[in-house]
């Protein structure tokens, strides 16, 4: 690729996005906030897939895996948000520290 961009540019960008996503997952107590962090992590993984596909000679396998990741992320978001709404109906809150009925 012209312009002096290398594979490491994209890997480091992906690493930064991953770190913010992991930080979001670790610190949020709002269940929807945690799901947002998971979406950030999945996006950073996709950046890695496409970067390796591009710098590995333009094979399409990486792009196809990225599409599968996007598909699973959509399914995960649907199920996750449905669970969150069900929790909200039961507990009137989605703070993950407050929903501790199963805690022994």
């Amino acid at each position: 690729m012209g312009g002096g961009l290398t594979l490491n540019h994209f890997l480091v960008l992906s690493l930064i996005v991953f770190s913010f996503g992991l930080f979001t997952v670790l610190t949020r107590r709002n269940a929807i906030g945690i799901l947002m962090g998971v979406e950030l992590i999945l996006n950073s993984a996709n950046i890695n897939y496409l970067a390796f596909a591009f710098y590995g000679g333009g094979k399409y396998d990486g792009q196809i895996f990225a599409i599968f990741v996007i598909m699973l992320a959509a399914a995960e978001a649907v199920i996750g948000l449905a669970v969150v709404l069900a929790i909200y109906q039961n507990f009137k809150t989605i703070d993950v520290d407050a929903t501790e009925t199963l805690r022994g």
Partner: protein
Amino acid sequence: MLAQIIFYALAALTVGSAAFVAFSRNIVYSTFALLGAFMGVVGIYILLAADFVAMVQLLVYVGGILVLTIFAVMLTAGIGDVTVSNRAVGTGSAIFTVGIAALVMLYAILRTQWHQVAGFTPAPTTYAIGNAFLGDYVLPFEVASLVLLAALIGAIVISRHEATE
């Protein structure tokens, strides 16, 4: 040089939005910042010559997941109660953990000699991806439709269960 300028602009948009998602005290602002992160990632995909994946990302993430997330936020969080709606705990230990993980990965990225193939000219990808989905990847492609069907039914069952009782 132009590619570098575009890359750093897109990276700034993505990283800035992701930081806003991670640090904002207001869950609604976090959700809308997610839009910026997704759009920046779409630009990165186009920069990596993945036009079809970029459009899929635009349709599924921005058009689907983000709208769904905004709906869920509006339905659940006490919007007026900003400080409670997006509480963060354990910030110090989280920064420590994430910092250690990031340093290890950065070391791995910079130390590894990645296998790279030079001299690749970008071409439209939709045709080849469609052929691959109905050729080498036909089994995962069909299983994916089952996964989506299960997710659809599961979401309906989970979200309707308590409402009917």
